[in-house]
Structure formats: C-alpha cells, structure tokens
Symmetry: C2
Subunit: 334 residues, 2 copies
C-alpha cells in the first residue's frame, strides 16, 4: 500500500496507514509556472483559472477511471488546455518577435519509450495531436516547421489560419516587451510573464505511464528559438520503469539540465523516490544553473509530485481514491 | 593513475602499472556508424577514410596539447569532418526527399552545462560553428530553420549556396532509395547507407569536457525530420561531473533512449565506469529498443570509450601520452 501523493509527509504511521491506498491510476497537470502571486489575482480570476485546470483534470480522470489509456488521458487534457486562452499553448499562445505564432509540443509513451515531437508549427490546431501522430504514424520522432505542417495536412489533422491562436492579452505582452527596448530580450532572461506551457502526466490501470507538453514558446522569441517543450528528456519524458514528467519554465535551463530524464534517472539509478528526485532536480540542479519553473510528475506506483521553484504554478492532481486538487499559488498544498 | 583507454582490459597488474599514465587531455571522434565492413572497402579507400579521421584527430590533439580548450578542439575537429565529403555532415551531407540539405548540429560545454543547437539549416557553411554561436551569443539553446539561418547571417557566419553541400555519391544514394519505392522510407527503418554523423568529445588540461555533433540527417528524410544530433541529452552531452558523449546512429532510437545523458547519469548516479555505462547504454538499452549506432565518449579522468553495436564505426581516439588510434571496422581495437 502506498500513499496517494507526496504531499502527505511527516504523518505518523497510523494516520499514514489509514489514508493509504494504492491508486491504480493518477493524473497531474500544469498550465505554466512563474510569478503567480495571490496579490495579482482577484477571486474571480483565480476561480477562472482553477475552473479551467479542473476541467482538464476531470477530462483526463474520466478516461483513466474507465480504464482508458494514459496517452488518451494526456492528449484529452492537454487539448482542453490548448483550447483555453488563459494558457500559453494553442489559443492564447505567445507571439514571436515577428508577431506570429510558433508552437511546440511532444508526447512520450512510458510502455514503449515511443515519442513524438514537433517544433515551430504555425497552423496546426492541436500541436499535441500532431506530436502523437508523429509518434504513431511516422518513422520519425521529431519534425519541425513547414515539414511538420505538411505532415499534419497529409494526415488529415485540422489546419487553422494563424489568427486562430490570437489573443489580445498575448499581443499586449508582446507590445509591452518590445517597447521596453528591442534588444532587452537578448540580454535578459525572459521574464515570468513571457513564459508558459501546459503539460499532463498520467498512470493508467494497465500500469502504463504517459506524458505530454505543449507551448506557444516565449513572447518575442526570434530566430526560430526552440525551448524544452519538444525536447524528449527535457520537457517531456515517460518510462514505465520510473515515472512520467512534464516541465514548464525557462526552457533553456531545462534543456541544459535534461530535467525530465534526469528525474527518472535519479529514480532508476540512485533509488530516489519521486518526491526526492523532483526536489533535487528542481530545487538543487535547476536552481543551481539559474533556471526557474517546475514539473508535474507521476510514478509507476501512482505517487504524484508538483514541484516548482517559482512563486506559483498553475497545477492540478487527482489519483484514484483521492480528491481532485487544483492550485496556483506557492502556499497551496495538495 | 588511470589507464589511458578502456581498450586495455584483462592485463595483469604489472603491465597495467607499466602502461598507466593519467592523461591530462584526451580526444575521441566518430564519422558515423553502420554496415562498415572490410569487404566493402579496398585498401586505398580505407586509407582515405583513416587519413581524414586522423587529420581531424590531430587538429584537436594539437589544440589540447597546447593547453587549448576542449570546446576549441571539438569545433576544429568537427569542422574538418564537416568539410570532408566522405562523411554525412557539411559537404557530403545527405539529401532530403526534396533533394535539398537540412543540417543539424549541437555542442555542450561540460564546465557550465551551456549548450547550443541548430536544426534544419540549409545555407550555413559550418553548422557546428553556428551551434556554438547560439550557445555563446544568444539567450537561447536551440534555433531551427529560417530563423537559425537569419541568426547566422546576423552574426557574420559564412553563408553558402545550397549546392556547397552537394556530392554526387549522396545524390546517388537518394536516387537509389527513391527508386526502391516511394513509401519504403516510411515503413522501413532507414538503412545503414543512409545514416551518418560526425562528432567529437574532448577533455582539456583545465579538466573541462566538451562535446559536439554535426549531421546532414538521413537520406530521403522529409517533413522536416529532426534526429538526435541537435538534441541535448540524445546526440550530445557533456558535464564535468561525469563525461562528454557524441552519438551516431538511428537517431529516433537515440532520442527515445536519451543515450548521451543516460551514459552520464549511470556514471553519476549508479557509479558505473565510462566503459560500463557506454556498454549498458549501447549494447543493452539502445539495442533493446531496436536502435543501431554508437557513441564516442571521454570522462573527466581521460578514459575513452568507442562503443557501437553496428558492424563498424568510423572512429578515432588520442589521449595524452598515448598513441593515436583510427579505425573503421568492428575488429579493430584501440
């Protein structure tokens, strides 16, 4: 018997026993990490974010509770977050320096170590669906730019006009950033406001883990910048030997620290728990090179970790037999 | 005192003592792995390959022996391999399905965990130089396609016409493959003939490790396919805590197995030697998911590993105080 989530430490053995069940399925998700402070949100706006997170969480939980696959749950939940303008993925994606959108996404299947990833697609409605299609319908793992868009069209995925992703608040963020000085984005690391990603991890009743991540990238990005979201081992990783991980934050640091694979490696090779591995990866290693952000992760025993070194992270978690949790701020505990 | 290279096992303690020195610097490189059999090469052609490998090896060794940096040694050696039409990188790059070239490259600095990567560039003379420039002159780690090319031009890197990379033998490989059936490339995994990469790893006298990898990708690739070469943690990884690794082979499998980061993780977390870690990563894990290829790696103590599960790998190694080694076939030992 295992405890449902990592957020139940320091309890005495009796209460642990009482609360413990072995979840056969579990899901966790994020909608980005950053300077997310209670002072910046009224109760209505907080409720709006929590409702969106809860809707995606429920959709994934529903699939898992009916013995659906972790991959189906991940895709369904990510797509709801892509379609929600609050998060930087799909509708609501960040604008590039040129005022366009270049979207990235990836998925990984922990049972087979199969993976799919796309970088810099502009007209594919659901980048996460395309990433899955790359995994399942091609001999490749990663495609980029025009080629990836041609593949999407050839496979019959829904193609949209670029303004499908347009939102006024993201355009305002671009304008603000560009007014602050044309070169600022080069010298300073992207500020919290510019960051964002959505990601989901899940364990299904067959014991299979899956992870998926989708993003609009950083506001004002140029030169075809690619972050950690489509990089297997950085933004996304899943192995039935250990855990499934989805990352969000300053993508360059997540690539350099190979955050997602590193968490699983510390479990596999150093015998760390999911809780310990995510703690070390985010609070020690990522922080040590100046990175900011977090991960959501679920391991093969249904333990969940929601770990970040930023003020807040839009997040949710729900394991079989437990209560759904959604939160945004640093002081909210599952 | 350590032995120079992993290829000196099973010697008795006395001979080990006699041969052992602690190299302060070391370099290893590859020019691709695959169905490289002695029966396919006459002595002249073998000599031609070995001369090209030796030239790149010497260039890197020269820099290291004068206390130059491992990154400078990696770039210099990779550039010589890029400029050599025998290898699938730079001149001699594979052709895409559309008859074009899309080149990928990446570098990583083990001292800082800084990294740079580019995917799908068509007109930049030295993709490895561009990868280094992304690392050193931008806030990004990875750029792709047109954006990466604009960055290269803005930084004053040498831009070439696409036919700079053209070679008749690669075009012939494309034609042969396309004649074998238009859909064959989708269903079958790319054959050995279509594969290739160049990569270099080095340790310098300051104790810093570096790795770099450059490729033309797979012959007949389409849809903007990206392999493992520009993926930090798959094709390239370096950390002064453990080792530097450059991969070559069936890139999709190398991404899924996060080969380069995995080797370093097994050293860091499981206490494996470089020899053991490369053995497990290639012969066990990569082979286990159907992948083919190899790695060159050097660790912080100057040990070198040249590991592959294919018939052969174009390769070379040279540690301080030792003799230079170049080889192609499976039966050649350092």
């Amino acid at each position: 018997l295992k405890k449902i989530a990592v957020a139940l430490p320091e309890t005495d053995p009796q209460s642990l026993d009482a609360e413990s069940i072995m979840p056969r399925f579990a899901i966790a998700l994020h909608g980005g990490a950053g300077k997310i402070l209670r002072s910046g949100f009224g109760p209505e706006r907080e409720a709006e974010y929590c409702a969106a997170l809860g809707k995606a969480l429920s959709a994934g939980h529903d699939i898992l509770s009916k013995d659906g696959s972790s991959m189906d749950a991940v895709i369904a939940a990510v797509q709801l977050l892509e379609e929600c303008p609050l998060f930087n993925a799909g509708i609501g994606a960040a604008f590039t320096h040129a005022g366009t959108h270049e979207l990235d996404a990836s998925v990984m299947d922990g049972a087979t170590l199969n993976a799919g990833a796309v970088a810099a697609v502009s007209n594919v409605k659901s980048p996460i669906a395309l990433a899955r299609m790359v995994m399942e319908q091609s001999a490749y793992v990663m495609m980029q730019s025009k080629g990836a868009e041609e593949f999407a069209a050839a496979q019959g995925l829904e193609i949209v006009k670029p303004d499908y992703f347009h939102t006024e608040h993201r355009l305002r963020q671009l304008r603000l950033l560009q007014e602050s000085g044309d070169d600022a984005y080069l010298l300073e690391y992207p500020q919290d406001e510019k960051l964002g990603t959505v990601g989901v991890v899940a364990l299904d009743t067959d014991g299979n883990l899956a992870a998926g991540t989708s993003t609009g990238g950083t506001t004002n990005k140029q030169w075809g910048r690619v972050g950690d979201t489509p990089i297997i081992g950085a933004g996304t990783y899943a192995s039935n030997q250990s855990c499934a991980v989805s990352s969000t934050g300053t993508g360059e640091h997540f690539i350099r620290a190979t955050v997602a694979r590193n968490i699983s490696a510390m479990m596999e090779y150093a015998g760390l728990s999911l809780d310990e591995a995510t703690e070390r990866a985010i609070m020690d290693q990522l922080t040590g090179i100046g990175g900011e952000g977090g991960v959501v992760a679920v391991d093969k025993d249904g333990n969940i970790a929601l770990r970040f070194n930023t003020a807040g992270m839009y997040r949710g978690a729900w394991a079989e037999g437990g209560e759904p949790f959604v939160g945004m701020f640093g002081d909210q505990e599952q």
